[in-house]
């Protein structure tokens, strides 16, 4: 599958997945009772699989595979170590910074992989994993696009701190967007009926949206999401420079030699020698 195809499939999958996230706003009265949430929860893992299938071939070599693996492990560890609220803050820092260097498709896969790995490790694989994975994957993909955009705007974003400021701004926006998305699909399940912030099946979208904003504001936007946005900014501001350098360093091929040793050209001291086998030759076992 070519790059163009991969991006097309990714775009289509993302639009459909967005629909699944927004099931409370999209579903009609009858299906909202049981059918719509179940459909959303079964549809999303399938969409995730389609996205993974499309992007699998964008992974060029073993190094990309391994980088994807260890960066997801780093994000998972930082999620586990996150002593503050929500535990997400440093995950965003790592995903956004990595994706801005390694590109949108890598960012998407990194977000996806991070969620799958941490769910696997805490044994928390379930219908919610696909939602978390998609939301973080979009954060990563967006960071890749932002990274590319600031490359094309090179004269303007020449200075490192401007690039970091762009990424930090994106970090704030994506923190709130992530929170809102995760609230949206889980809202009817989390709150139940009969409250001021409940989802009412069949109500006009505007009414439901108003109540959703109320729910989001009181339960996460003003608390978890704000903390996440703030720590993402702090993380990018304080560690961004070092992290970006480290990533750039890791993807640049280097010799194992320390730098600055100058030109050293030597000959090995043994030439034209033939080593003598100590034992008789053995026929090869594996052809």
């Amino acid at each position: 599958m070519t790059r163009g195809w991969q991006i097309t499939v990714l775009a289509l999958v993302s639009v459909s997945a967005l629909g699944a996230f927004a099931w409370p706003l999209v579903a009609d009265v009858e299906s909202a009772q049981a059918l719509a949430p179940v459909t959303a929860m079964t549809m999303l893992p399938v969409l995730l699989l389609v996205a993974a299938l499309a992007l699998d071939r964008s992974i060029a070599n073993g190094t990309t595979v391994a980088l994807l693996g260890v960066l997801a492990a780093v994000a998972t560890v930082l999620r586990a170590l996150g002593t503050g609220f929500g535990g997400f803050e440093l995950v965003f820092t790592v995903v956004i910074l990595s994706a801005s260097v390694l590109g949108a498709r890598f960012g998407f896969l990194l977000g996806l992989m991070t969620m799958v790995v941490s769910s696997l490790l805490w044994g928390g694989i379930g219908p919610w994993t696909a939602f978390q994975a998609f939301a973080l994957a979009w954060v990563g993909a967006g960071a890749g696009l932002v990274g590319r955009w600031s490359n094309t705007m090179a004269p303007l974003t020449r200075r490192r701190w401007i690039r970091l400021a762009v990424l930090a701004t994106y970090g704030v926006l994506s923190s709130f967007a992530f929170g809102a998305l995760m609230n949206l699909w889980f809202w009817p399940i989390a709150v139940g009926s009969g409250t001021d912030i409940s989802y009412v099946a069949g109500d006009p979208i505007a009414e439901n949206l108003r109540r959703f904003v109320g729910y989001s504001l009181v339960t996460s936007t003003l608390t978890w999401d704000t903390v996440r946005a703030a720590t993402t900014v702090v993380g990018i501001a304080l560690a961004g420079d070092v992290v970006l350098r480290a990533l750039t360093r890791a993807v640049t091929p280097r010799s194992t030699l320390p730098r600055g040793d100058g030109t050293q050209t030597r000959r090995s001291t043994v030439l034209d020698e033939v080593a003598v086998p100590p034992i008789a030759r053995r026929p090869r076992v594996r052809a």
């Binding site: 071939r57 001021d196 086998p277 034992i279």
Partner: protein, 558 residues
């Protein structure tokens, strides 16, 4: 021995964590829902109304609670990790599945390094976020690059089968030069290694031992950005025409840092990895793995998690993983670097036996060449660097404070003791850990030293001055991780000694140093002691320790 995907009921109890977590999650979910109902739906008045409300909430949330608990139970009964490591060589999304396997294997190591870094920060009183994120990430990226190379070397991404041709001369080099960019090159010239022979490659750090071995796997020329001139044939195949994965069935490499090259979580999966990439059936590979484990003497380790292995065990596992494909060419990059006497002997015994039985051709790069000298038919020495020789002209420094070597075998508790001691007396005692990189969080030597001046409250330039005294030729603009092993130890010493401790502890500072670098370390320790800092260093290198008055007691050497 082979892990099953559907866990047997006997082990369900020991894997109950996901189920427990799901029960906690379910209770929290119901409680939250009740809270929403009460806060945003009006407070129930009276006992009856409370019961009715609770009942309604419970009934309404029953479906999702069932989903939560069902998936918790599923995660307990099914071994997802075990299932993932199967069939990686084919099928859809195999690259992502491989990444997942690498990630799960890297997780404990990353967690360990995060803990180590947290400990190192506390020890230095460094609270910046950068000093947590940067070393963990740098270390992990290094690991990632190493694991990536290991994946390719072991057959990941193989696109066509390579027919292994003539093998009476597994390595033939004709007028070969190797290099990286314009800055570094190695002239190999002509070399012909006959089938079944063993070549010992020696030379100081930086003379190209690793580059030579990596050129034989194809990594240097094809995936690592180096270049090759002349003709280099491995098993009759032009090395430039075949990437590392295509020769994985007959060329095996044991990397210098074996732990970084591990790609699986469990020893069995690690040893079986290359066979799985070759597409062998699970039954066949189970037999091959257990027979090689028996050969190397690690049958008892097969079910162990990779990150719990000691240095000696890790080397033996890496050796088994390399031998399991019955390679005709086995490359070993400093296999003895991390090992004490007992484990060294064991590895040499295994190599001798394997060679006798299978007639494998071996190339061993090693500083401790005396240990493997018996094995070798041919000794290739890569010329030594002139710059290193110039530095080594020994200045005589008289020690003022004491320098005490602490010699004990692997696992004797040296590290634990040192850490405990340094943590308990942070103002008087400073420790240079076994991985000095734990202390590095900046992008250049200068920045690292300036940061350290702020931490210790010394005038700007103090640390850099000390670093330049300890290693006069230090490249101040280089990234600390681009320094040679010896220079890293020196920089870490400068960072810790700048705090003016009474006692400086060094954990295994001789690890990975060639004779020249050891010489410089000797000099550096004496310089530090001349400044009035007492030193205790742990090592399993009795020869180095003997320069500081260590004499092995008969019990230890016996």
């Amino acid at each position: 021995m082979r892990p099953r995907i559907l866990r047997s009921p006997r082990v369900w109890w020991s894997h109950r964590a996901p189920l427990t977590a799901s029960l906690v999650f379910a209770v929290a979910f119901v409680a939250l829902r009740l809270a929403y109902r009460v806060v945003f739906g009006g407070l129930p008045s009276g006992f009856d109304e409370w019961v009715a409300t609770c009942g309604a909430v419970l009934r309404a949330s029953a479906a999702f609670v069932a989903v939560i608990v069902f998936f918790g139970a599923l995660n307990t009964v099914i071994d997802v990790r075990g299932a993932l490591s199967r069939g990686l060589h084919r099928g859809p999304i195999r690259r992502l599945r491989t990444a997942l396997v690498v990630s799960l294997a890297a997780f404990p190591a990353v967690l360990d390094s995060a803990r180590e870094v947290r400990w190192a920060r506390r020890m230095r009183g460094d609270r910046s976020l950068r000093s947590l994120v940067a070393p963990v990430l740098e270390r992990s990226l290094e690991r990632g690059v190493a694991a990536g190379a290991s994946l390719e070397q072991r057959g990941f991404g193989i696109t066509r089968d390579v027919v292994h041709g003539m093998c009476d001369a597994p390595v033939v080099a004709r007028d070969v030069s190797l290099g990286f960019g314009a800055g570094w090159s190695l002239t190999v010239g002509d070399l012909r290694v006959a089938h079944g022979s063993c070549v010992l490659v020696t030379g100081d750090t930086g003379t190209g031992k690793t580059a030579l071995l990596r050129s034989l796997t194809g990594r240097l020329q094809i995936s690592a950005g180096g270049w090759q001139q002349g003709v280099l044939e491995v098993g009759g195949i032009d090395r430039r025409s075949a990437p590392p994965s295509e020769t994985a069935s007959f060329v095996s490499l044991v990397e210098q840092n074996v732990r970084d090259a591990f790609v699986a979580s469990v020893v069995f999966d690690e040893i079986a990895f290359t066979l799985r990439m070759m597409g062998e059936s699970e039954n066949q590979l189970a037999g091959a793995v257990s027979s090689i484990a028996q050969r190397v003497g690690i049958t008892h380790l097969l079910a162990r998690e990779i990150h719990t292995l000691s240095a000696g065990e890790a080397t033996l596992v890496a050796l088994a993983a390399a031998l399991v494909v019955r390679p005709s060419l086995l490359l070993l990059d400093e296999p003895l670097a991390d090992l004490d006497e007992v484990n060294t002997q064991r590895v040499v015994e295994v190599l001798t036996a394997v060679r006798r039985e299978t007639g494998v051709t071996m190339l061993i790069a090693e500083h401790r060449w005396d240990a493997v000298a018996e094995l070798a038919d041919l000794h290739v020495h890569l010329g030594s660097s002139e710059t290193a020789a110039a530095v080594a002209s020994k200045t005589d420094v008289s020690a003022r404070a004491s320098i005490t070597p602490l010699v004990a075998p692997n696992g004797a508790g040296k590290t634990t003791w040192m850490r405990g001691f340094a943590t308990a007396n942070p103002t008087h005692v400073r420790l240079v850990p076994e991985s000095p990189e734990l202390l590095f969080s900046c992008a250049s030597v200068t920045a690292e030293c300036t940061h350290n001046d702020r931490l210790t409250g010394s005038p700007v330039g103090t640390t850099l001055g000390l670093a330049q005294t300890l290693m006069p030729d230090v490249p101040v603009d280089a990234h600390p991780r681009d320094l040679s092993t010896g220079q890293r130890v020196a920089l870490a010493c400068a960072l810790q000694a700048a705090a003016l401790p009474d006692l400086l502890l060094l954990d295994e500072p001789t690890r990975g140093l060639d004779s020249m670098a050891r010489h410089r370390l000797d000099l550096m320790l004496r310089q530090l002691s001349a400044r009035g800092t007492a030193i205790i260093f742990a090592t399993h290198d009795a020869e180095f320790a003997s320069a500081f008055g260590y004499s092995p007691s008969p019990e230890v050497t016996a």
